[in-house]
């Protein structure tokens, strides 16, 4: 029971972060338009900040996109195979996909460490506006690129969870079609 509670808490949290990012995006863009036309002074940092929010929103939400079957897959072979064959194929595909996600997460982390040494310019501007000359140093670009390893690791874990479901179905005698939820309609 407790793992469903944790699961639900994680989902609610992630969902809240995503909504906040989208609200942030639309707010910054609207403010930018108002500033440019109404007050004739563009925000130096708005464009950059929006791009970073998009990167984070995209990688964080990939796990939900995967769950809902936003990414198409062929099911011809799985439909044609007997129960264990289909499940075995799903497990094999899942292992490969999860491996790829973890690999990308690892290399994404290395890339972020290598290339993310600069302070984020947009936040430096904002700090400069608020604090003036003695502004604290802005967070590093690492924290922008960190979205990729974080999102890919989440996605990988989600796929591992699916593999576990396939394995359970294998032993309990259920079929692949039984456990693929209706929301995954697209991937059928």
């Amino acid at each position: 029971m407790s793992h469903t509670a944790v699961n639900r808490a994680l989902r609610t949290g992630l969902r809240a972060v995503l909504i906040a990012l989208m609200v942030g995006l639309i707010t910054v863009m609207s403010t930018q338009i108002v500033m440019r036309y109404g007050l004739n002074s563009s925000l130096l940092w708005s464009e950059e900040l929006c791009r970073y929010m998009l990167i984070w929103a995209a990688f964080l939400a990939m796990i939900f996109a995967y769950e809902r079957g936003e990414i198409a897959a062929l099911s011809i072979l799985a439909n044609a195979l007997p129960r264990k064959g289909a499940l075995g194929l799903a497990i094999f595909g899942g292992v490969l996909s999860a491996l790829m996600c973890f690999m990308l997460a690892w290399y994404g982390y290395r890339f972020a460490s290598l290339a993310g040494g600069q302070p984020i310019p947009a936040i430096s501007f904002i700090y400069g506006d608020i604090f003036g000359a003695d502004a604290p140093e802005a967070p590093k670009v690492f924290w922008v690129y960190a979205a990729l390893p974080f999102g890919m690791a989440l996605l990988g874990l989600r796929i591992v969870f699916d593999i576990w479901l396939y394995l359970k179905a294998w032993t309990s005698g259920r079929t692949l079609a039984d456990i693929v939820s209706p929301e995954r309609g697209l991937s059928q």
């Binding site: 863009m29 011809i76 072979l77 799985a78 996909s97 290399y107 990729l148 390893p149 059928q188």
Partner: protein, 428 residues
């Protein structure tokens, strides 16, 4: 390269999601070719593929569409279409097409369109005695209008990948969309006469004014977007943000159907759908990196030119190749893959990049309504609870209609370029 293609096809056939198959095949390529140290290039390419200011239009346009849809706008549009065109034989089929056309101005993706219009029109047509596979197929064909009418996610991505003006691309898609819409209506009318489809009840006179008032703001949205971009008032990204805010205002103040919970859900849906798009773009960026390593774009361009230098032969050849790719690939992934190649070829053909963009997008969109990977076909079949094969068969004549429009787009520049050039003179 053979390794890559075989790996990709293999992964896809065993049921790995197609976007993952693109990524996995890229990894497999690096392993087999002993170039694993290049793995570090993948995250960089994936982020670079997403990190683009113009791509921000995508979440904003998706948000505008989601807000309009959760404000129950789709139902208003369908009723409005029924009021306008619903009183002929086969009326509901015509309403389906016209409503798809109207919804296109709100939605930028064919899949969103297929599920929004399909969930209303397929049950409605079935109730009226239409064959369900016909209803589903017509909805799928109509959903192609979505990416042709502004806003269009595919045209945006094409613009990003080629540096073509988004405003011009948006304008160029409009005439082909009307053409396709008109031909689909003709088809529906002829079929109605032959199969004796019913004439629907007229919309009561006292509802008409209210319906018009409610449908107009939605129809204005593409005008605001294109007008704003073309007149130079907004950048495409700003126009997209304005569209989203506009949709929010209409939903909250005009329709009064948007609660806070619905708005929250629409924002969340938007993040999820955006992530779906970005995942595809990111994974395809890995493949495009591999293609770059192997100089494939240059090789294919050279090969094509060896084959022929006659522009019309090359255009025909490109269409065949794109249609073939569209059978297997999701349009946005296909765009990321083929544009580096096509960027080499299009200047040699001497085709206008705006016309070329509409042609490429239409090609790939036709793949959305053909098996084996036709997302719109999957969606309408799921809504109608039909077997995919039946819908795929019913959609065949409509694919023929799409081909006619495609041929006109490919070989008659005026079809796409008249509108952008007409409106370029009037801009300040």
């Amino acid at each position: 390269m053979t390794i890559y293609v075989l790996a990709f096809l293999g992964f896809m056939v065993i049921g790995i999601p197609i976007a993952f198959s693109l990524g996995l095949a890229s990894v497999a390529y690096l392993i087999v070719n002993d170039q694993f140290h290049l793995m570090i290039g993948f995250p960089q390419k994936m982020i670079a593929g997403i990190d683009n200011f113009v791509l921000l239009t995508i979440p904003f346009f998706i948000l505008a569409g989601n807000l309009m849809n959760s404000a129950d706008l789709t139902r208003q549009i369908v009723r409005f279409a029924q009021m306008l065109v619903g009183r002929v034989r086969g009326g509901l089929a015509v309403v389906n097409v016209v409503a798809s056309m109207m919804f296109s101005g709100v939605s930028g993706a064919a899949t969103a369109e297929a599920s929004a219009i399909g969930s209303i029109m397929i049950p409605a047509m079935r109730r009226d005695g239409y064959k369900p596979e016909y209803a589903a197929a017509l909805t799928a064909a109509g959903s192609i209008l979505g990416p042709l009418v502004p806003p269009s996610l595919a045209l945006i991505l094409y613009g990003v990948l080629t540096g073509t003006s988004i405003g011009d691309l948006f304008l160029a898609g409009i005439a082909p969309a009307f053409l396709l819409c008109g031909l689909l209506i003709c088809y529906a009318l002829i079929k109605a006469r032959r199969e004796d489809h019913p004439v629907p009840e007229p919309v009561p006179a006292n509802e008409r004014l209210g319906l018009t008032i409610k449908a107009l703001p939605a129809l204005l949205l593409p005008v605001i977007i294109v007008g704003g971009i073309r007149s130079g008032v907004f950048t495409p990204t700003e126009a997209a943000a304005v569209a989203a805010v506009y949709a929010l205002f209409i939903g909250v103040f005009l329709y009064r159907t948007l609660s806070l919970a619905k708005i929250g859900a629409a924002f969340y849906e938007t993040a999820t759908m955006t992530a779906g798009v970005m995942l595809i773009v990111a994974m395809a960026s890995m493949t495009s990196f591999i293609l770059g390593i192997e100089n494939i774009p240059q090789a294919i361009a050279a090969g094509l030119l060896d084959f022929s230098t006659e522009p019309w032969v090359l255009i025909l050849l490109l269409n065949v190749v794109l249609l073939f790719l569209g059978l297997f690939l999701e349009p946005l992934a296909a765009l990321v893959l083929v544009m580096p190649i096509l960027n080499q070829i299009s200047p040699l053909i001497g085709i206008d990049p705006v016309q070329f963009g509409v042609m490429v997008v239409l090609n790939l969109m036709i793949g959305m309504i053909t098996p084996p990977v036709g997302l719109c076909l999957f969606i309408v079949a799921a809504i109608g609870k039909l077997r995919l094969e039946r819908v795929a068969l019913a959609v065949l004549p409509m694919i023929g209609i799409c081909m006619i429009v495609l041929a006109l787009v490919a070989f008659v520049p005026a079809v796409t370029l008249t509108l952008p050039s007409l409106l370029s003179g009037s801009t300040p």
